[in-house]
């Protein structure tokens, strides 16, 4: 019976109910989109790292695995690595930020082809000039590029020579020597990929290399991809925490205002219920049930909206952002929405429960 009353109350003011559900839905989408972007972009990075086909990655001492690092390793190290037991191939790259989360990667195409099996060209082909650039399909679509197009990066025009399938190393690659010159890092590398004669030797080779180069960071590609998680990205967990905090505040304010106006509007009805013998707990129960129903409906809408935000990102900026749908976060986001909503409903519910029956019955 009480549920009937709750549903009837919500249906009685459909616009207020829909706006409350929408606001909670946006709150939930905000959380799920952020988490989806974090996980999606990390997964995308991991997939591209695996796409290189290497077994080991080496980075300079003191660099963070997740953040962009300047090219600080001497290129001569390539020869050192190439001479080590079980190391079949070595490929060095330079990574340079170009704004936002985008980077451009400098490669030696022959070296990279040997280790990775080469790019799969959708159109065009390899570098022919120092100002040639290869981009993946996502980047080409997002920036409306085709072979022969000019793209301006780092205050310089580049000619698109090839468009390749995504999933290998990077979305934008240029000749390594050119990038080293531009970045003032001649003879330096950001990371070195090693391919072994057999992957079974990976741990043994890493152990041997660490003895010789103790300060350098070395990971198997398997280990590297497993490290691509939210908790390993400096500041990301805190950022997600801040967004969740803001979401709770949004949910609190929306539900507070919605339930406060609802309780004021229903002052007389609260009086009627009290005259019928409803206890303060009964009245509290009605307000809280309405709140939970709003929050659950908002959570469902938020989940649906997450698919919408993913579609929007895929349509507008597929190369910059990758959003994953993370069902494991649905109950978490739902619980956060319910929590925020219940906090928001506390004062209105208390006000309703404490309402004097005689005053309420005379309320016009």
């Amino acid at each position: 019976m009480i549920n009937k009353l709750v549903v009837a109350n919500l249906k009685h003011r459909p616009v207020r109910t829909l706006l409350s559900v929408l606001a909670i839905g946006v709150e939930v989408t905000m959380m799920l989109t952020l988490v989806g972007l974090s996980e999606g972009m990390l997964e995308d990075s991991a997939r591209r790292a695996r796409g290189v086909g290497a077994d080991i990655i080496v980075r300079a001492p003191g660099t963070s695995l997740m953040s962009l690092s300047s090219a600080s390793m001497p290129q001569k190290l390539m020869d050192f690595f190439a001479g080590q037991p079980h190391v079949a191939l070595a490929a060095g790259t330079v990574v340079h930020p170009i704004g936002g989360v985008n980077t451009v990667t400098g490669i030696d195409l022959d070296e990279f082809n040997r280790i990775s099996g080469g790019f799969k060209y959708i159109s065009g082909g390899p570098f022919r000039r120092p100002d040639d650039i290869i981009v993946d399909d996502f980047y080409a679509v997002q920036n409306k590029l085709s072979v022969g197009s000019t793209v301006n990066l780092m205050n310089r025009n580049w000619r698109v020579c090839g468009i390749v399938e995504p999933g290998k190393l990077a979305r934008i690659v240029i000749p390594r020597a050119t990038l080293q010159d531009l970045a003032g890092a001649t003879g330096k590398l950001s990371q070195i990929f090693l391919k072994l004669d057999t992957p079974a030797h990976t741990n043994q080779v890493i152990a041997a290399l660490k003895e010789k180069l103790p300060d350098y960071q070395m990971y198997s590609i398997e280990e590297l991809t497993s490290l691509y998680s939210v908790s390993n990205v400096p500041g990301l967990s805190a950022f997600i925490g801040v967004i969740i905090g803001l979401s709770i505040v949004v949910g609190f304010l929306v539900v507070f205002l919605s339930m406060y106006t609802a309780v004021l509007e229903r002052t007389r009805e609260v009086g009627i219920l009290k005259a019928l013998g409803a206890s303060p707990g009964y009245v509290l129960g009605i307000v809280f049930r309405e709140t939970v129903l709003l929050a659950l409906a908002g959570s469902l809408l938020g989940i649906v909206l997450t698919y919408g935000s993913r579609w929007l990102i895929m349509t507008l900026v597929p190369a910059s952002l990758t959003q994953k749908i993370v069902p494991a976060w649905w109950p978490i986001a739902g619980a956060i929405a319910v929590f925020g909503a219940l906090i928001g409903a506390m004062y209105p519910a208390w006000k309703a429960a404490r309402q004097d029956a005689i005053e309420a019955l005379s309320y016009e």
């Binding site: 009937k4 009685h12 013998g277």
Partner: protein, 225 residues
Amino acid sequence: MSNGELVIQARDVRKVFRVGDVEVHALRGVSLDVRRGEFVSVIGPSGSGKSTFFHILGGLTPPTSGSIHIHGKDLRAMSEADRTELRKKEVGFVFQKYNLLPTLTAADNIAIARHIAGTEDGDDRQFREVLGLLGISGRLGHKPAALSGGEQQRVAIARAIVNRPSILLADEPTGNLDTENSAAVLALLRDLNARLGQTILMITHNPEAAAYGSRTVEMRDGRIV
């Protein structure tokens, strides 16, 4: 006068409200006995304390002094929670403005009173008989806005008696109704009193309406005169 057991025993009941710095003496020593099965009309001008007396009898507010017993239970000794319990089962209210919940159908307005009292699973025979007596069986699926004033008041009466209260308190039950509907509602109350033995206290301004009761008491300036 009925010779049944005492349902209401009020002795020197006083109620003082404080409005700002001013004390308002709404009741100045009301004493009244009502026996089971009586239909008592309470008449008096506005401000005579009728509604305050009803609110005290219904457990909506405690008296300032005096003693008042409903079925032997002392209202002055009751906590807020005890008075809530009293309203659930011992007292049924009928108001001038019907006071139905606008979002629920007539049937659900009656059902929620049973839900609050925890009597949903009880015997329905008497309730069905009451519905038949009230003549609203065909209107139960409608919301209050779709019902006439007379129909709304019948639903309100059904809601008030659904938990078989010891007392039905009707505060100007015909105040918003035309002559025809007023007569129908008053006849209904008289029937409930006669057929089911329902004890009724009814506030009214109208001497004609008061005549439907078996006894009339008059209030003036916070006292029964």
